[in-house]
Subunit: 463 residues, 2 copies
């Protein structure tokens, strides 16, 4: 087993996915602090439970893959304010001095239940359930959403792309268009968890033990006197399974030049791994290039396609001759979705179950559990969202991961999470893995939950 | 003047926008390293120039605001590989040992010319021009694009939102939906530079000296026995200019409850600053709430609107009664654009000017300068993109910021950059600031550049 940063990571060391200490106390919206100050000032310190769930599946999506759970736990269990932090808050906000003083000892001391990272999950289904004092539980909102929303979105998007590629490897190429460094790193991790085969992002490869992939750019070809010289130069340095980018000038001539180099490599006992095509029309280009390579007896040379690919474009290339895909912008930024609707809502406090009634923004009240229901073939049929007090036959998905503010579930490696996620996907009925079917994986509220929701709606709707 | 982290920042200290040391040597695509290894192996170490430019304005956009320039400079001038980095590369890649050894001393020793951060810029116009050895200049590509693409996209988007708000303050609320922590921080900074008035993001406020803003959530209201009790509790803790969220249950009743608290505050010599509405229909809701507040003689109480706002929705609220906006998801993720098409292309090497001819992916060859041309009123008319050797009457935009690998232009504060950006915007003709006009700010290639492009197209098109 390779020694990697990932493997060496102490499970309880409090080092998050991007290798930073996860203390992100200041990574919060000011209103978490103003609310907490008002709670303190008004002696509101009873227990409360919040659910983190995603309101709605984006168009065409049938499920989410929960991602970012391990980072969320590391975050919640490592919050602390330094004296310098408090001094900055004193200068920049109207927070009362008594509250500022209390921040010195502030930490999360409650309980978190979470679905295992990599779990298939539907809309309106808690990924995390946080119970603590009202102020501690409230405080986590902004950073938990920042962590979970992006990583879950990318894992879910990437898995759609993997499904469209039907077994052909997909490599993550998004660094240059990712929305910042964290997005590039965590997006590469989420994509790998969701079934991508590798990444071009060197830092992500090292941090998360993801296979690295990369060859050369058009500029490399342009910097030599002609394309064939560039190919020969690259193959000289990397004779073992190189990939050559063949469309700097003309894709047909590029394929012929690559074939020349492939034969030269063969004579030295090496093999050209693949050619890469980075311009449309990819379908026709791949057919043309395959024909040229086959005529040259280079059936073993693969064709790797890139160029603003997404799940729909990859799907449309089926039946042509692409053997691998590189996907950048559309995956790493989840274009055009950009953001999923993860929210964090109060569902219970010392006065009992709570509900929010703003139009289109309903929440399910009460402390709840999610149960997975299997069909006769052992595949995922649906989930049931039930009150914790109900008895449901099914596998509960929310497991206790933090107790009294301490992590009680060891941080899993990326590889464990990836294996688990891909096993989850394999247990979905076929039609749910289609990128264009409208067959959403569903969560159904239990009878008890429906009854509570109706009764609270009547009670608070009349306020 | 307030003492802030921003103000205290040593201009040459090599601390980037998010307060990290900017050494991001590993934040690169593997192909930068494989290309560099092949350049070394093939003795290709002449000088080369690359342009970083954005191919295309997104739909409806008329200009970009260049952002991320200061971070890009910090990045380029701080690259270094540690022994541990090199060891990781040795284990994970096929890079030749000779190249790995050379990474120990690798740094950027060339020249960078850049537009000043905050500059209005059009499509196909260099924001950065990098000249160094081929390998050094090539190496910067991935991280420079990661830095510039996101920050420029957000500054440009945010400025559209500010334009739509026509003077009403806009607050940045994107932390929970941003694509990671960096995105949240750098997006808040870019939005402030582009004219936003503040942010809810506490860390961004502290790092960049941005005014902080925040009040309370629906959960705060829900945690009290009724809405009026919640409002009174909040106003007790924050009597000085509080804002109250009035749509947890019913916006009309919420406005009446807020009015009660406003009068109670008035009796104690305080004022309610605003009410916040977070649900549609915002237009009708704002009119209704304004009427209620006016009937209560609370003309001074503002109406702050949130709820998935963007420039179009804000525009549609003109003529209604919103006095300030909070904008989150659509700004911080630049939904649905998600990514702009910033690229980094070889334009010249030791053999002369270079061109890439792939369909729809043409580049302007040669070492170039950008000149701003003003109209008779002193407003920006257009830019001219010319070869450096040409003489053009106009203000050159690319200034030398790095010489022999050393920063020669001090890092400017966020406030300086914001002032400059807003001054730039004020010098655009009115129609270019419209969010729905099709009046793109244009860059026109010079006669010399057109001639060179045509001649190289003929020469390389025939290859």
């Amino acid at each position: 087993m390779k020694t990697t940063k990932e493997n060496n990571k102490n499970f309880f060391s409090g080092i998050d996915s991007v290798g930073n200490t996860p203390n992100k106390a200041l990574l919060t919206d000011l209103y978490q602090l103003t609310m907490n100050a008002a709670y303190q000032d008004n002696a509101k310190e009873g227990k409360a439970t919040f659910d983190l769930f995603i309101r709605k599946l984006p168009k065409d999506w049938n499920y989410f893959i929960a991602c970012g759970i391990e980072d969320a736990i590391d975050y919640a269990t490592s919050i602390q304010f330094s004296d310098e932090d408090i001094e900055e808050l004193r200068k920049r906000t109207a927070l009362p001095e008594e509250y500022l003083q209390s921040l010195k000892g502030f930490k999360f001391e409650g309980e978190i239940c979470a679905v295992r990272e990599g779990t298939i999950i539907s809309e309106n289904t808690p990924l995390l359930r946080v119970t603590s004092t009202l102020s501690q539980a409230q405080f986590l909102e902004s950073a938990l959403l920042n962590i979970i929303n992006y990583q879950t979105m990318i894992a879910s998007k990437a898995n759609r792309i993997v499904n469209a590629a039907r077994g052909a490897p997909v490599i993550e190429f998004g660094l240059r268009r990712a929305q910042g460094e964290d997005a590039a790193l965590l997006g590469a991790r989420a994509s790998y968890i969701a079934g991508f085969s590798g990444t071009s992002n060197v830092k992500a490869g090292i941090e998360f033990d993801i296979p690295l992939s990369g060859t050369h750019a058009h500029s490399f070809v342009m910097s030599f006197k002609d394309e064939l010289s560039a190919f020969r130069a690259y193959a000289k340095t990397f004779p073992n399974n190189p990939t050559l980018l063949i469309d700097t000038y003309d894709v047909e001539q590029g394929a012929r030049n690559a074939a020349i180099v492939a034969h030269e490599l063969q004579e030295k006992g090496f093999k050209l791994k693949a050619v890469r095509i980075d311009s449309d029309p990819l379908a026709e280009n791949s057919d043309l290039v395959r024909k040229i390579l086959d005529e040259e007896n280079l059936q073993y040379v693969g064709i790797f396609a890139t160029n603003d690919l997404n799940e729909y474009k990859i799907n449309s290339l089926q039946g042509h001759h692409v053997s691998g895909y590189g996907v950048g912008t559309e995956n790493i930024t989840c274009k055009p979705v950009s953001a999923i609707s993860g929210v964090y809502k109060l569902v219970e406090d010392e006065d009992g179950a709570k509900i929010k009634l703003s139009k289109c923004k309903k929440t399910y009240p009460g402390k709840k559990q999610v149960y997975r229901i299997f069909d006769a073939d052992g595949l995922f049929d649906h989930d049931i969202l039930a009150l914790e007090s109900e008895t449901i036959e099914g596998a509960p998905l929310l497991e206790k991961v933090v107790e009294n503010g301490i992590r009680v579930s060891p941080r899993r490696s990326v590889h464990e999470i990836r294996d688990y996620a891909l096993h989850q996907v394999s247990l979905l009925p076929e039609e749910k893995r289609s990128i264009d079917s409208q067959s959403k994986y569903e969560t159904i509220p239990s009878a008890g939950l429906v009854a509570l929701t109706e009764s609270l709606s009547k009670q608070f709707g009349g306020q």
